[in-house]
């Protein structure tokens, strides 16, 4: 399949992806937002702080705690309250902090709205006779989690470890402030625990690990191996050994470039013009030389036939003619066949290039699909393998489009030819350099260009 059709397919896929992305972006941008989504302010059904009796904490401690709780509600979207209750006795009898928290949460739930069930209640019980036995417990609504980094284990850590030293010192107010601060810090800075896997994710994970991941990796290997095989076949070439006498500037340049591309065809035309085989007529069109005294090579004959095929009713200026000739498949195939016959190109290159293109495209398609499935299944090994498949296939597709068709013996022949043609007077070497460096000749300053200033306009036209 010609490369331009594969490029069209790729463009279609990219276009579809871009359209989908554009719709999604519009949807996201026009959605109403209230501050940071994960931290929108909340109103809560209960008071931020309850102290029973009122004198259980100092006024300063109560003011500080009110600020902390309100900051959590306003800045971090945490619907919570704190209850500090002084209990008679030494705390060895009566309800525990945990029981009190559960009872209070059931009777008067802490939540952002009625029925939401998304709040947190922190209860601190302070025995009147033994303040060192102060107990801390947390109760959450059924819809509280996930809430940032907060988890039951981390709340227990706050209660059992982080508040303990201040409680033992009898600094109850400071301990409650410390605990409340750690609750906010935990919500903000601890990583959020993963939610439980859904049935779909579990099913996909069973499928993807290890079979799916291994399969994707194997496909990536197949694509890479196909590219390697193409390279090996090309380098091995056919049984034909290049004849050094047949090697000229155009053939050497085509071998160096690895393809009969637009630069090589332009070079063939330049060579024919320079030797007088083709002339530029007064009307700006190309034609065979009327004198017929210049030696005409096979390549020149093919060039002349290509000129003859130019649409006579549409014989525009030289720039249009040159452009048409660069797209002349008959001329290109003739030149490629000549390169293959001479042993410079691998004869099966077009077929191998087509096959490899299809393999790479299939790899890209499968890789993208595999990536989507792996993301849906939350499977890291499968994602790695799917990405490898996609990237390897993409690289092979790009490489295949430009890879050299030159054989190993052909490259060696050109290397030897270059060593033998180093003189600045060597016309064939000049032509070789023009073709090989054609993309950047126009960037060279005039005194370093292989094209004379007088020939520059014509060269620019032919190279446009």
């Amino acid at each position: 399949m010609p490369i331009k059709i594969s490029a069209a397919l790729l463009s279609l896929i990219i276009f579809a992806a871009v359209v989908f992305a554009a719709f999604r972006l519009v949807n996201v941008v026009t959605q109403e937002h209230d501050g940071w989504d994960i931290y929108a302010p909340v109103d809560v059904t209960t008071n931020p702080l309850l102290v029973e009796p009122a004198g259980a904490l100092t006024t300063d401690d109560q003011d500080t705690l009110n600020s902390v709780v309100m900051a959590g509600r306003r800045d971090w979207g945490l619907p919570w309250s704190i209850l500090v209750a002084e209990l008679p006795g030494d705390g060895s009898t009566g309800e525990s902090a945990e029981e009190i928290a559960a009872r209070r949460m059931a009777v008067e739930p802490v939540e952002s709205s009625e029925g939401a069930g998304d709040g947190l209640l922190m209860v601190v019980t302070v025995p009147e006779d033994d303040r060192a036995r102060t107990d801390v417990a947390f109760a959450t609504g059924p819809n509280f989690y996930p809430k940032g980094g907060i988890s039951p284990e981390r709340l227990a850590y706050i209660a059992d470890v982080q508040m303990v030293s201040l409680i033992e010192e009898g600094r109850i107010g400071d301990a409650v402030v410390e605990g409340a601060t750690w609750v906010l810090w935990t919500q903000l800075f601890e990583p959020q625990p993963n939610p439980a896997a859904t049935n779909l994710q579990r099913g996909l994970q069973d499928l993807l690990v290890p079979l799916g991941a291994a399969g994707f990796a194997l496909l990536a290997g197949v694509v890479a191996a196909s590219a390697g095989a193409a390279l090996a076949l090309t380098l091995r070439g056919s049984a034909t050994t290049p004849d050094p006498a047949s090697l000229d500037g155009v053939t050497a340049a085509a071998t160096s470039r690895g393809r009969v591309d637009r630069q090589v065809i332009t070079g063939v035309l330049l060579d024919a013009l320079d030797r007088g085989v083709v002339v530029l007529r007064p009307d700006g069109s190309l034609s065979a030389s009327p004198t017929g005294t210049t030696t005409v090579r096979d390549r020149d004959s093919a060039m002349l036939e290509a000129i003859a095929r130019l649409n006579t009713g549409d014989r525009n200026g030289i720039d249009a003619q040159a452009a048409q000739m660069r797209h002349d498949e008959v001329l290109r195939h003739f030149l490629e066949d000549a390169m293959a016959t001479g042993g410079y190109f691998y004869p099966g290159s077009p077929r191998v290039t087509r096959w490899l293109c299809w393999i790479a495209l299939a790899g890209i398609g499968l890789g993208v699909l595999a990536t989507v499935i792996a993301v849906a299944g939350d499977s890291a090994p499968a994602i790695a393998a799917a990405l490898a498949l996609t990237v390897v296939s993409l690289v092979v597709l790009i490489w295949n489009d430009r890879r050299s068709w030159a054989t190993w013996v052909g490259r060696r022949a050109v290397r030897d030819w270059r060593r033998a043609h180093t003189s600045a007077d060597d016309r064939e070497r000049v032509l070789y350099e023009v073709i090989v460096g054609m993309e950047t000749i126009d960037l060279l300053p005039a005194n370093a260009s292989p094209i004379t200033p007088g020939a520059q306009p014509l060269f620019s036209i032919l190279n446009s």
Partner: protein, 478 residues
């Protein structure tokens, strides 16, 4: 009549560069100069690692070093939708993690620094990194900064030759802001490394349009976005540039062949960059577009809050930003000013000198504009200029707070332009009184202009080949 081709000028253009058979392994300035710049930069950076003032921001980057090892679990708790993960893209954290592992440390480091509390509280809370972790993280940045200096050399060299490259690399290596940030554990050095690699790739892409270079450019923009967001946005105006090239080529204002090969490659940049950005950031995988939007929103909101929290350094508009940049890079962070003060300080301590970094950079702007006009809008020079202007513009327009590290990409741009300005002055000086007097080091010197060769004979038939061969009667001074 059609002019014949002449081989007369090829001696310098292809015999040395292209003929690999004659390449001799020797110490060439093209390798020596960047190597020396690297050694200079890394020496300076490393010397400051132990002495540069601590900044609390460093603790955040060291804390997130575990992102690198957590890539093994891309659906784990690290990548859930939460403040820390949304607040900064991950590439700088990956670099921290990788660097710590390479230096024998692990990625379990300090806790998260809470800026609502002071140093003492955070130290008690475990947010202060160990000294060994801090220095290891700083050494990573020292290396990255030195590599950025080398890349800057290659950028300026590609634009205007080795003199420009050496000047640009040297300025950045001794730039006080660059040294300061390269000896701290932040992610800004990674940003300028990626930006400079992007600029270099743009030059290559513009000069030789190809899918490989286009893919690399998009990947670098995406990685830049994964480091600091802003480079990702540069892919959008690049696509517009590609469309513009095609339109200009239609009306004859740009090279047609080059525009047609380059334009589509630029149009594809946003897609490549965005895909790279998403692939590098597991947090985005469940909802690439929605979560990307959230990341940008969060960043924008944080900038506004910083501006409100520090009114003394708040920036009101781009003009204010330009004024701040001028002040910072002329008085506080000027390479030439610091260098002059150090030298003059031997004779008269406490001398204050006005730095000329921005002056020479302004000259460099004119040089760059001339190069763009001369080489065309479809050249690598024009593409690089567009990208560089876009990056600088994004910073100037988007800056809401005058934090010192936000000026580092501007310092990068100043260094490149400084190199161009220096080259112009060097050339001007060299053209007066003979070029040889300025040929101090091979490869960093002014080459005398080469007279073009002329054809005297035309179409001498070579009877052995049957082809007509050019035979120049006179060649230039080769």
């Amino acid at each position: 009549m059609i002019e014949q081709f002449t081989p007369g000028n090829l001696q310098s253009s292809w015999t040395v560069r292209r003929d690999r058979a004659r390449t001799v392994l020797r110490l060439r300035p093209a390798i020596l100069v960047p190597f020396l710049l690297f050694v200079l930069s890394i020496s300076i950076n490393m010397a400051h690692v132990a002495t540069t003032e601590f900044h609390p921001d460093e603790t955040r980057w060291i804390n997130r070093a575990h992102y690198f090892t957590d890539l093994r679990d891309p659906f784990g708790p690290t990548w859930e939708d939460q403040y820390i993960t949304r607040g900064q893209p991950p590439l700088g954290s990956y670099l921290m993690g990788l660097g710590l592992l390479l230096q024998g440390r692990d990625t379990t480091t300090n806790g998260v620094w809470d800026f609502a509390y002071g140093s003492e509280w955070n130290a008690i809370a475990g947010a202060m990194p160990e000294q060994a972790d801090l220095e290891a993280a700083r050494r990573i940045n020292a290396v990255v900064g030195a590599v950025a200096v080398v890349v800057v050399y290659f950028i300026a060299n590609a634009l205007a030759g080795p003199v420009a490259g050496a000047a640009a690399g040297f300025l950045l290596a001794i730039h006080p802001l660059h040294i300061w940030i390269a000896s701290q554990a932040l992610s800004d050095q990674l940003l300028i490394l990626l930006v400079s690699l992007t600029l270099l790739t743009a030059i290559r892409l513009g000069n030789r349009p190809g899918r490989g270079s286009a893919l690399l450019l998009g990947v670098l923009l995406g990685l830049g976005g994964a480091a600091k967001l802003s480079p990702l946005l540069l892919s959008l105006p690049l696509a517009v540039y590609g469309v513009g090239l095609l339109v200009l080529a239609q009306i004859g204002l740009a090279n047609g062949a080059r525009a047609r090969s380059l334009g589509p490659l630029l149009i594809a940049q946003p897609t490549i960059a965005f895909i790279t950005f998403v692939v590098a950031y597991p947090y985005l995988w469940p909802d690439p577009i929605g979560r990307t939007w959230q990341v940008f929103q969060t960043r924008s909101q944080e900038m506004e809050e910083q501006s409100a929290a520090w009114p003394g350094v708040a920036i009101e508009n781009p003009v204010d930003a330009l004024t701040r940049i001028y002040d910072r890079l002329t008085w506080q962070f000027s390479a030439t000013g610091n260098l002059a003060e150090d030298i003059l300080g031997w004779f008269r301590p406490g001398t204050s000198v006005w730095g000329i970094d921005l002056v020479l950079a302004a000259v460099g702007v004119a040089v760059l504009a001339w190069l763009v006009m001369h080489r065309g809008l479809a050249s690598g020079t024009a593409l690089m200029t567009f990208l560089m202007a876009g990056q600088a513009g994004a910073i100037i327009v988007g800056m809401r707070v005058d934090f010192y590290r936000y000026h580092l990409p501007i310092a990068l741009v100043v260094a490149i332009l400084f190199g161009l300005g220096t080259k112009l002055i060097w050339q001007w000086l060299a053209n007066r009184g003979g070029a040889r007097i300025w040929n101090l080091v091979p490869g960093i010197a002014v080459e005398p202009p080469v007279a073009p060769a002329r054809i005297e004979d035309r179409n001498t038939i070579d009877s052995s080949t049957g082809a007509s061969v050019n035979r120049p009667a006179q060649t230039g001074s080769q």
